[in-house]
Amino acid sequence: MNNSQQTARVGLFFLLGLALIYVTYETLSGGKTFSRSGYTVVAGFPNLQDLKPTDDVRMAGVRIGSVYVTRLGKGRAEAVLQIDPQYTIPSDASATIVMAGIIGTDYISIDLGTTQAPALKDGAEIKTKITPDIASIMTQMAELGHKLDSALSSISNAVNGSGPDGGVFQKFNRLLSENQTKIDASMTNLQEITGKINRGEGTLGKLVNDSKLHDDLLAAVGDFKATASEAKNVMASAQTVLDQVKAGQGALGVLVYDKQAAEDLKFTLHDIRDFSDKISKGQGTLGKLINDDSLYFGLQGTLKKADRAMDGLNDSGPISAVGSLSKSLF
């Protein structure tokens, strides 16, 4: 091997090494030195969380650039986003920090926005939305877990019981074990009954198993229906009667709805009462007739005399009869 060939190989080898070092550098630093093409957009966040330079910037999932640098601005953290020149971002699109992996591979997600909004210029500020970071979510989850835990423990206390009575299940269990024999007997009876029904014994059994009974029942129901419709008719005529009464037609109607007639009736009743009072007190002829014994006795005496006179009349003929009658009477 001659000397120049050896030199060429070493030279080639060395240049290859330099090229590979450069390739490595380009790969790892995301081509920052070489291809700073496109434009930058500033995104301000209260907290950049785990965002680092060279992290992706994605619009609706498509990679459109990378985070160029992260820095502190006025009261906020700023991420400068290097956007590839072929992509435009509408000014109403908003950026959020999205966590893609557990060990902190974050990226910035930009939504599509609307197409009619003007595109963002170089150095413009993009709207941002705050995303809750995993720590705060975890804190809330822990609180929720505590609440759930206490709720579950109270439920389990209710079910398993902590007092002397025990919980629902213990009570239920006791109830069951105490009434075991009764329940068994009931179950046996129930079984017998269902067996009978099944075999077509008894009314219920026939009802269930006999199709004739079913037809009868159906006919009975039909009768019921007819009866009901008749009853309906009766009711309808009763209704018309009532309507007439309401309208003041007929005697009953007058009695119920005519005020004058009611007044008259009241007076009449009053008079009748007066009349009966007087009678009961013995006032007037009828009263005396009813209440005074003497009149009755007088009448009785008179009747006796008349009787005797009749007897005498029988004996002495009509003239003496008239004579004795006038004697006895006066």
Partner: protein
């Protein structure tokens, strides 16, 4: 007592050789042909074995970590693990170990046989310092070639890992996902760290092997003993220094 003395002798002679070599740096431009020859031996001819070994180191790293990670379902981070391990640790160390085995042993054998055959004495007699024409070109060549070998080792290891991830059933990580995880974790700073380590290892391997070769005394049997001693010393030094150099680099860069 004798062994401690020999260790101290070795350290001392190595340091003296280092100082002598450095003092002749100005003459490097006149030793271009020797430098190119050493570059060829150290870099170009070592490339195939570096490539093969790095490929399988990356593959087995991906396979083992994929096997361990499948319990946690974190296979998508294999790229990060393999990438960072190759760049920071395994790339430089594999290259240094290969260099000790393949180049260091050759240097010790060559210099020891020259010493045993009194060629070195002849050079000294002609007022040509052996550090100048035998050691300096090698040191310069190894400094020149180590970054190249390391970067090739890193990249080949990465691709080996990616291939294993794609075609192993229980890992099944697409190369795109693998390299995304890798890019996310590995920084160019880590590559520079790895190259710094490789430079230090390579320099020490060549220096120690040259020193042991040049301090050989006796006959042909001592040549073999010197080669064994050189390779063992180099490997021990690489692994022990690895820890301290890593710590130092982490302290400097953080």
């Amino acid at each position: 007592m004798n062994s401690i003395r020999s260790v101290l002798e070795g350290v001392g002679s190595t340091l003296i050789l280092f100082m002598r070599s450095i003092s002749h740096v100005g003459t490097l431009s006149r030793q271009k042909s020797r430098f190119i020859e050493q570059c060829y031996v150290i870099g170009y001819t070592t490339l195939p074995i570096v490539g093969i070994l790095s490929f399988f180191v990356g593959s087995v790293l991906a396979l083992q970590s994929g096997y361990s990670m499948q319990d946690f379902g974190t296979q998508q981070f294999i790229g990060a693990l393999v990438g960072l391990s190759m760049v920071r640790e395994l790339g430089p160390m594999m290259v240094a170990i290969l260099l000790a085995g393949r180049v260091g042993s050759a240097i010790t054998a060559e210099l020891a046989s020259m010493k045993v055959n009194q060629e070195v004495d002849a050079l000294v007699t002609m007022n040509i310092p052996p550090a100048k024409i035998l050691v300096l070109p090698r040191l310069a060549a190894v400094l020149m070639m180590m970054p190249v070998l390391t970067v090739i080792s890193n990249l080949v290891g990465w691709f080996g890992g990616a291939l294993v991830c794609k075609y192993t059933g229980f890992i099944s990580v697409e190369p795109q996902q693998y390299f995304q995880a890798l890019r996310h974790v590995v920084k160019f700073k880590d590559v520079i760290d790895g190259i710094c380590k490789a430079e230090i290892f390579g320099f020490i391997v060549v220096l120690v092997c040259s020193s042991i070769g040049l301090s050989t005394r006796g006959g042909p049997r001592e040549i073999g003993a010197a080669v064994t001693k050189a390779v063992v010393s180099s490997l021990v030094l690489i692994l022990v220094l690895d820890y301290f150099v890593t710590k130092l680099l982490l302290a400097i860069l953080s």
